[in-house]
Symmetry: C2
């Protein structure tokens, strides 16, 4: 282990114990100071961001990439506001999850505590630096943040501002860390520090996440991709279904909770598919159809086997006609990514069967898949979305950044 | 991937969906039939066990190992009883963990569901085969069980009996699997099946568990070892403290919740340590002391640096004098295994500081560390103890074998 990584993780563990001692009030005041410091350092952050943008343009990086990297007054305001909002959220720490009294007189309680040290690996999205720092700080977790190399100057500048805010609150120990040393080797080393790092959350493309899972001996919470489905049952309300399908696909096609495959009950397909095509044409969405759907809408592109497990992140959707509910569930469990699926139906029993049978983090009835989101769920924040089954599933807010400990209070009991 | 493993994990995933459809009543009835089948097949199981015992004796395996492998009428009765008890426990599945109504009319609930497919890797302890099968079945998880090669015949025989019990309940699909093919290669392959296996629980020695963590790309829940501490504060009740120390060390020294290190406040050490030595002498416990303690009890064995992180699993204990509470907490967080620690004190503020500052799954006040146990906690069962921080911490019962999904019910809502 390099001395850089060794010092970093040891300091982070030590800081996690210090951070756990801060009161809720102290942390909220510091978050507000961090929010102010972002605005106060606006000029400095924008000039550092300009350096990254010059480099990115020279490298010829994609327009969409540069668009995400670029900061402006508006975006800095949003980052600041987001920190203020985190300050206003309810604190999950210290909450008693359960409490029992044992026959031998021992009082036992399960209490929410911080996870400890959390490594966040992300691409060149500067707002992640301040958002994650805020969420982790609120829950007394020490963040080790590793952002994309292309946002190097921007991230350092944001971190500097955030530290200024902390100092204003007299928090003079390092409550979060930015990994400033370049190179993949550092990340690989960090991913081996299970003694000092409790959790890794990778945010980014599927290949980045797979690399992290393969390398890490620390628990990872993640989603590789969102291959979300809508199943149109034979009793679905046609008008509502059309609205939901267009919303789920076209409102923001580049995100993980957009729909990728629409499954249509054979009994309703003849009526529904031509109407759907009309709406999708208007929205600029192109359809890829299975054999049976092609008979109803001839001349369109055929869906290949890979289509059923593809996250298009684009105005493309695959469509398949199914025999009924059970085939829809089986298709989703076979080809899906266990993220978010929705059934559109008037049949209550079918809705129950769907939400039970589908093995996904979010199972919806008569609503758009786009609601799979921490803010829409009322969590007040979102650190990520998990398609894992352990610890946290679906949108993750503050509570999902906590664990628990058992506290037992006795009066001298021994085991007999 | 070998076709053996491929078939196994695909079948297991399929079975997990079948198992999720069984009702609580059906499962409890089947568990009772499994309990009966163990007794009914007593002769067969014992004769198969005899084959393993002959082999083990020939191989010259340790006495304690053979003792754990050997079955008899009494042990089979216990295994059967344990399955009956599992049948009588409350079902955690379907429980609504939380429920909210969003401003847009969406009804959102978080509901407990099975994890799915769980791989258990364990050594030659035949009761683990039936206990784990019972716990996993109750929570609608499909177990893939890989027991030690030295219990091969015994495990097959137990599995055969359990399957008979299931058939009696007309459950004719494979609700659990025993990995019958020998060799480490099979385990290594299984540990790569993150698409089909949701969780691995290794039970056994530290080296087995480390191997699993290094190999697996599936989430693992585990504890490597239990280096548990007792801190005797200066206000501790001497008589109770002596009783607790002896109980925590000597009542069953071979288990993970036995105490390994006793930390003594310097103000009470002069009085306490000679009394402790007297009690430990009676109980056959030998002490390893730090420099300061050696001055009070000269001539005893000195504790080396390794002692502070050693799980003796034996009638040996290390003892250290500390300046006070903060040094005790720091020692525990540095050398401990995040398992179970207890403070003995009359000072409420110190008790609170200890339970907050100690970064362990179980933080106790005035009670023996030996209470860190699923049955003692009233969980009714125990699938293992976790020193991890994610998903489950400390003793794990039925609830810890579940995850949740989000169910959203709308009336046509789209995201705007």
């Amino acid at each position: 282990m390099s001395s850089y990584v060794k010092n970093l993780v040891k300091q982070a563990r030590w800081a996690s114990y210090k951070l756990a001692d801060l009161s809720a009030q102290e942390k909220d005041a510091a978050l507000k100071n961090m929010a102010r410091a972002i605005l106060k350092n606006k000029r400095f952050i924008l000039s550092e961001n300009a350096k990254d943008l010059v480099k990115a343009n020279k490298k010829g990086l994609k327009k969409s990439f540069i668009e995400r990297l670029a900061l402006n007054d508006e975006r800095l305001k949003e980052m600041s506001l987001s920190l203020k909002e985190i300050a206003s959220l309810k604190h999950p720490l210290g909450q008693e999850i359960s409490k029992t009294s044992r026959p031998n007189g021992i009082q036992l309680s399960k209490v929410r505590v911080p996870i400890g040290v959390v490594l966040i690996i992300y691409e060149a999205r500067p707002n992640v630096t301040s958002d994650c720092t805020g969420l982790l700080f609120k829950t007394s977790n020490v963040g080790i943040l590793r952002g994309g190399a292309d946002a190097e100057h921007t991230n350092k500048a944001i971190a500097k501002a955030l530290r200024q805010g902390l100092l204003k609150s007299k928090i003079d120990f390092p409550a979060f860390f930015i990994v400033e040393k370049p190179g993949h080797g550092i990340v690989d080393e960090l991913l081996q520090q299970s003694e000092y790092i409790d959790l890794v959350i990778p945010r980014g493309g599927e290949s980045l996440i797979r690399k992290v899972v393969e390398t890490s001996n620390i628990p990872v919470i993640k989603h590789y991709k969102g291959v979300c489905h809508i199943f149109i049952d034979d009793s679905a309300d046609i008008k509502k279904s059309l609205r939901i399908c267009v919303n789920a696909k076209a409102q923001r096609p580049s995100v993980c909770n957009a729909v990728e495959t629409i499954l249509v009950h054979k009994k309703i397909a003849g009526k529904f598919l031509p109407l759907l095509k009309k709406e999708f044409d208007k929205a600029g969405v192109s359809m890829r159809l299975d054999k049976r759907a092609l008979k109803i809408l001839p001349g369109l592109k055929k869906a290949e086997k890979e289509d059923w497990s593809t996250e298009y992140l684009d105005l493309i959707v695959s469509v398949k006609i199914v025999e009924g509910l059970e085939e829809a569930i089986e298709h989703i469990n076979t080809y899906g990514s266990h993220h978010t699926e929705s059934i559109l139906t008037k049949n209550q029993a079918n809705a129950r069967r769907f939400t039970k049978g589908v093995d996904s983090a979010c199972c919806f009835v008569n609503m758009s898949t786009r609601f799979s989101d921490g803010f829409q769920f009322g969590l007040g924040a979102e650190i990520g979305i998990s398609t894992d089954k352990l610890h946290a599933r679906g949108p993750m807010g503050l509570e999902e950044l906590t664990t628990y400990k058992w506290i037992g209070r006795g009066s001298g009991q021994i085991r007999i």
